[in-house]
Amino acid sequence: MDACLELKGVNKSFGGIHAVRDMSFSVAEGELAGLIGPNGAGKTTIFNLVTGVYDVTGGEMEYKGANINRLKTYQVVALGIARTFQNLRLFAASSVLENVMTAAQYHHRYSFFEAVSHLGRWRGTERAIRDESMGLLERVGLADRAGQPAGTLPYGLQRRLEIARALSLKPSLLLLDEPAAGMNAEEVSTLNDLIVKIHEDFKLTILLIEHHMDMVMRICHRVVCMNFGALIAEGPPRDIQGHPEVLKAYLGEEE
């Protein structure tokens, strides 16, 4: 299988903190891969590097064979990469629907003059954006909350909204940063179903960060585990679960 995303010896340091050291791994086209590791391992930093929020200090990142080291955040979107955020970054005062529409308009353009006059393609395009956004809200089970300000949703639903917003960019690689954080067991299990389902239906490649092992073990095809910024193990979930280094990393955290 072709690699969708490939990291080759990626490094990132913030002043004295070496947050990512020599990370090399790849995510194959169509895979649902997990990225795990204790708190502060550098998982979110990897997402920030891939999406251009931070510049890499060293190493190469490739997306579908093309180097993405120097791309800006908005250029990454054009390639088909979308993400969610660990610390929710919704437009809290805007309605749930408007949050998704803000992203969905990426694939539906009209000119400035159509915008100030509400003539021409404005009406049709706005309807298309709205319909598409409502469709996605239905997918994640938020259609009945479309008019509510996003900030007033419970956390679990805000995370689902972030997923809907990312999906409306029609990505081929979706990066999910701890989508289950703050959810109870029941919510986590419906979220699992949702992720598996969108992975199939939208023909996505997904890289999923998760702090909790069991969720990753249940749905991921392959798992990458890191600690202190470095790769410690990589392979199918069954192997990772019993891997001595991984156990040490997680046990070490609980001490």
């Binding site: 999406t51 929020v53 800006k72 955040t73 908005y74 990454v76 979107v77 054009a78 979308a82 993400r83 955020f85 970054r89 919704l90 437009f91 809290a92 005062a93 805007s94 408007e98 529409m101 803000t102 992203a103 308009q105 990426y106 539906h108 353009r109 009209y110 400035f112 159509e114 915008a115 100030v116 006059s117 509400h118 404005w122 395009t125 706005e126 954006i129 917003r165 960019l169």
Partner: protein
Amino acid sequence: MGDYTIGIVTLLAINCIAAMGVSLFTGFTGIFTLGHAGYMAIGAYTSTILIIKLGVPWMPAIIAGGLAAMFFAYLIGLPTLKLVGDYYTIASLGLGEAIRLVIENWESVTRGARGYPGIPHYTTAPVAVGFMAVLAVGMFFLINSNYGRAFKACRDDYVAASLLGFNTSRHRVFSLAISGFYCGVSGSLLAGFMSFIQPVMFDMAKSTELVSIVVFGGLGSMSGCLMGTLILTLVTEMFRPISQYRMLIYGLVLVLVMVLRPEGLMGANELGWDSLKRALSRAKALTRDTAARFGLAGVLIGIPVSYCFQPSSVRAISLAEYLSCIPSLMSGAVKFGAPLHKSVAPNAALAVVIACAICASFAWALGGIIKLVKKIDDSRAAGRGM
């Protein structure tokens, strides 16, 4: 309608256009600015020079004034709006003054600090109101489109916005350019209204006034911006006899808004049935509040008090006399632009406002104290009950 009313309406329309520009940039794109009077100056001088020196008709000259300011705003935005807005805010502090100083010193073209006289009076009320209507509709449409959502996204969270595919710095520059256009048109109209322009008309105070209007009306609300213009322009007009304290009153109004209603008159809401209903229910809730009841009583007491005591410093007059002034103002017996302190009306109005404010704040404080005492009593009673 008399000349005075027509003058006020024209001025309102002109201010409104500039305020809409600032509202787009500060309210919807989230970047504070303290130099937008500079763009008004560019518009005013461009159109004036085009009309007087080159004989261009006024209509294209107004548009050209807007475009010149827009181009200038674009040039300034490119380097200063790259990362986040904070650089622009700092730059804008010097920017407005820099534009003013250039105009003041470039005497061969701008005639310097003494000003540019003899501009034809092309800004009649219909022209100003017409421009305002067209530009307001355009702005409302723009806000309710893909651009509006993009600006708000860049304002609320520029990291998230850029990861939704928005080139945030380009959007900021674009927003500034449009707001520059609005201010340029407003400046051009002002030139045609006053028939005379002078660099001091576009000083720091004017920039502050524009931002005050937008903050007062509510950041991120176009109808709030219109209401802010209406109220603050009328307040300015009312306090014209003591115009040297105008900035003080502006400051006071702003501080009051920030204390009592930090989100501005409208918040980020637009005027509509929903917001009206919400305001009504809020008002109803206020009437159940002891402190607010006392405050209202204070206002009601303030009105007779202001007439009974008539402090000599404000030379208050009788109610009948005050009311009799209004028709003469409206009918044009007092010309717009004539020094109003010769007429007594604004002084009387001032006296009423001051007396009301004093009575209301005393009464409000009294209500607050009573409420507090009651609360302490209640908690004591609760303590005994245990």
